[in-house]
């Protein structure tokens, strides 16, 4: 398996994610959407609604990764600073654009007036292409290798439907997960490291869990783009757990 690894970063934008007001769910949504397309999320950042911070983060990430996916900050209010920050990051102009304005005009016709605030949502950096919003219509946009989406989770999910077909994925990393109830990490650590060292194309992870009713255990996960190596890794993990006197249970994973 020598297919190229395609790596992406996620940039979550919004004061509310940092104040603790809002629990982010978009990182997981995006990661799960991209994985089967052969795009691996390799880093994520969360920044406040501060233009300089947004510009610095997106410029660092777009230089380092194949793709960047941002959420948040493209609505009609003064705290929505993402579109202007993207224009600044790419050094291009930004203004109300006819195609975006037409989408909003069709949506708001009659019921609500398309005032100056709503027209902010038709401001698109020069050179960007629109990303359709099947939920509330105001579009996102793609500029270079950066996909700029809304932060409301249902809208993020909707916009991803107009993103997947634009991506050139690489190797698809798949995972097998095996659960060992009442297994302790310290007892399988040496065996797990031996597996990692013997299988260069597979990465192994160990995730302990503690359930409220005083129960505990470990989930062992192998990840690889090589299906054959992954099958063997799954069998090796089961054998490792059995060697501790625990019955392994293969569980669903990403």
């Amino acid at each position: 398996m020598s297919q190229r690894q395609v790596k992406a970063a996620v940039l979550l934008i919004g004061d509310e994610l940092l104040s603790g007001r809002t629990q982010d769910v978009n990182l997981q949504t995006i990661a799960k959407f991209l994985a089967p397309l052969g795009v691996q999320v390799a880093e994520a950042r969360v920044v406040a609604d501060v233009p300089d911070e947004i510009v610095a983060a997106v410029n660092a990430l777009r230089a380092k990764y194949d793709y960047v996916f941002t959420t948040g900050g493209i609505g009609p209010t003064h705290d929505d600073k993402t579109a202007d920050a993207m224009a600044a990051a790419f050094g291009v102009n930004i203004d109300v654009r006819d195609d975006a304005r037409a989408i909003l005009e069709a949506h708001y016709r009659g019921a609500t007036n398309l005032n100056e605030a709503r027209l902010r949502m038709a401001r698109i950096p020069d050179g960007a292409s629109l990303i359709a919003n099947p939920v509330s219509r105001a579009p996102g946009f793609q500029i270079g290798n950066v996909f700029v989406m809304a932060g409301v989770p249902s809208i993020t999910r909707g916009m991803l439907q107009d993103v997947g077909h634009r991506l050139q994925g690489g190797a698809v990393v798949q995972a097998v997960a095996v659960r060992g109830k009442r297994l302790r990490e310290g007892d399988i650590a040496a065996g797990l490291q031996a597996l990692e060292e013997a299988a260069p194309g597979v990465s192994f992870g160990s995730y302990p869990w503690f359930a409220p009713g005083e129960d505990y255990g470990v989930n062992l996960v192998a990840r690889s783009a090589d299906a054959e190596a992954l099958t063997k890794a799954g069998e090796d993990l089961q054998a490792l757990i059995r060697s501790c006197g625990v019955d392994p249970e293969v569980v669903a994973d990403l």
Copy 2:
């Protein structure tokens, strides 16, 4: 209110957060814990279990913020790379330390053997102080302005109890939130911007929501370290919502 703003970063470490396998909850836990202590989370990053990435992130963040809080990667298995990465970031030695070893010896006495893998959890960078772990005993540590904690959410919460008393907080930012059902962001955007411009010590945020049953609305949030300005901001937000013919509802926020 001229009390200093104390800013922090959160660094979440673990492949499982980027693959989509695990939904992070520690960022919100830490932000909500720090806010009443007068420490504001200003940025967060998520990196994989890759030493160079961990070192680069922690060095960037500890130089920029008053405090850094990390979670993940301090267990006994080969994919736990955080402790060694912190030693590398600070340019200090790391080895099994007697006080950490004594904690593990007391915990594992009899029931389980303190093997080489478990002893990895007693590896502490030179100059660090231990952070107590009331859940599973293996300690975290503080080195400089960086607090290194476990990633399992119950253990993160437990370790924070031994962190708060070490912090020098500044201004405590408080929030008021007012909910407008069937309010549309585009109708209050101009009024909200006017409020933001008239109240330099207050920041206003607008958060639209869409409920499954086709209902929708906006939560307007004001944040400030100035209690008097915040009270006025809350009243202004209610008046703004009323001016759109909607009954405002003051809701609990952070």
